[in-house]
Amino acid sequence: MDLQPISGVPALIAQSAKVVAVFSVVMLVVAYTTLAERRVSAFIQDRLGPNRVGPFGLLQPIADGIKNIFKEETFPATASRFFFALGPMLTIMPAVVTIAVIPFAAPLPTPWGVVDMIVADVPIGILYILALSSVGVYGVVLGGWASNNKYAFLGGLRASAQMVSYEVALGLSLIAVLMLGGNVTLTEIVRQQQAMGLWFALPLSLAFILFVIAAFAETNRLPFDMPEAESELITGYHTEYSAMKFSMFMIGEYAHMLTASALMATLFFGGWDLPGSWDDAFWYQGQLIRGFDAAGVPIAAAPAVWKTLLTLGAFAFKTGFFLLLYIWIRWTLPRFRYDQVMQLGWKVMLPTALAYIVVVAGTVLVLDLVGVPYGFAFGLVLTLVSALCTGAFLFALDRGRIITGAAAVGEQKLLAARRRGGLELAPGSAAGAEIASAAVVDAGD
């Protein structure tokens, strides 16, 4: 079989087909994620959820779409019309286009050449995603500000503060990935995970945890949905929006979720990779190969349609898992208080990410000096180091000192003051609990 990359007119057709296919799949997945969210939340709360439109409610997203198209568009009298209309556009656009740089399957062989299963393999990969997903917050801020509504305004302000705080941790948690991947293109990062034989979630477990937390904050999902905060701000930045503009904010949110889930799958769970090296395929000096033998001679890859389909399924499964995780967490955890969000972002995530970069860089340096080649053993050592870091991080979080309720903080200070005054508290004893509860009453006074 001809293992040359596709070129000429067939390449143009293949490219157009990929763009259309990926865009429609994104829209479809977004629509059905909204349904999944409603159904899963219903199951979690022992309800049934929307199950009337079509079998199992499968036509519900279409009904929602029709409803939103035919609803009245309202413009608040005092809103700034231009920015009010610009907000939803700025939210939906970056969320949809970022998916373009994520590889979603193994290369597909065709009679005209091999087609890479990625819409745009741009050389700036992750930077493109970070840059564009930051544009998304402008939509939220502009929409909130232009509405001329105090709740929308507060939502927009919170969105900007939260984005600034968590963008830093998100970027820093990616540094560790880039150090192992050695490149910012996502195809290269997938390839490096194949070469190591370990998905980066293991050798970079702490980076993975930080990335997941930061991504939740970036997509404004619970427990970080400060900009929306139904119980505090009505619906925050999109309070004044109706009909399709509201729908665009929603599509933007879910598309952002999809992109973030696909990124987690790609950066930390090998993207479309499946265990074993049978499906590996990447370009090396114009040839499609699946690795090097002991002598460093490239081994030609054997792309096949069934391999492409299987890896596409693997990618869809991984992404779907993270989408489900988003929904699952949303319906479990309560919203953080605003100061807690800031505290977690600046006092926990940022220092941890910085320290972790130093640890990973140091480990990689030592391994290079010792002469361990990049591969499975290399990954195992990193896994061990990262496991220690993750353990320490979780232990520190688990001490309950970092995120506590306001009452607990006051109580803590009071107990500390009483201890200084010579109070003895036997941990777990009835007397200790008695005094502690008395302390609570005192704090209330």
Partner: protein, 166 residues
């Protein structure tokens, strides 16, 4: 009677942990996600089991020859607290009284069941039925023919000598 106070004891701050609480919460929601306690009744497909004493849409009992059992004594419009029954009585050649007009406004009705209790010939009844939605208000005024055409089971009245229906 002493007022009891329930003291909710907060865990000591040294022992509180956001992380473990979050994980146990996730486990709980996961159990419900994969195995929801199905308590919802899918109403139009699954019918509600109405109590024998359910008081709903009225019906008028009829004789075997198709005449209403009502003798137009006028007790039900008198006792009706919502004043929703309109009755105009008449008398035939043999001196039998019968209703010329008998209308019940189901919108005004409070479904107390006193018309059924007071009826000396057990003609008017409230019934075990509630699905009487209509498109216009006028349709909620049931005339005699419509009341006689109802087929749902009638309500079992509460018996003071057997208060628990044993």
């Amino acid at each position: 009677m002493a007022v009891s106070v329930k003291v909710m004891r907060r865990p000591e701050p040294e022992r509180t942990s956001y992380l473990r609480a979050a994980l146990s919460g996730m486990a709980l929601t996961f159990r419900h996600m994969v195995n929801p306690h199905k308590v919802t009744q899918q109403y139009p497909e699954e019918q509600t089991q109405l109590s024998p004493r359910w008081r709903g849409t009225h019906r008028m009992e009829v004789h075997a020859d198709g005449r209403p059992k009502c003798v137009a004594c006028g007790l039900c419009p008198t006792v009706c607290p919502a004043n929703c029954i309109r009755l105009v009585g008449g008398e035939d050649d043999q001196g039998n009284r019968y209703p010329i007009v008998y209308e019940i406004d189901e919108f005004r009705c409070v479904f107390c069941g006193m018309c059924q209790e007071v009826c000396p010939v057990e003609a008017i009844h409230v019934g075990r039925h509630f699905e009487n939605a209509e498109y216009t208000r006028e349709r909620f005024v049931y005339d005699l023919d419509r009341l006689m055409a109802q087929e749902h089971p009638t309500t079992l009245l509460w018996d003071p000598s057997d208060p628990l229906s044993e």
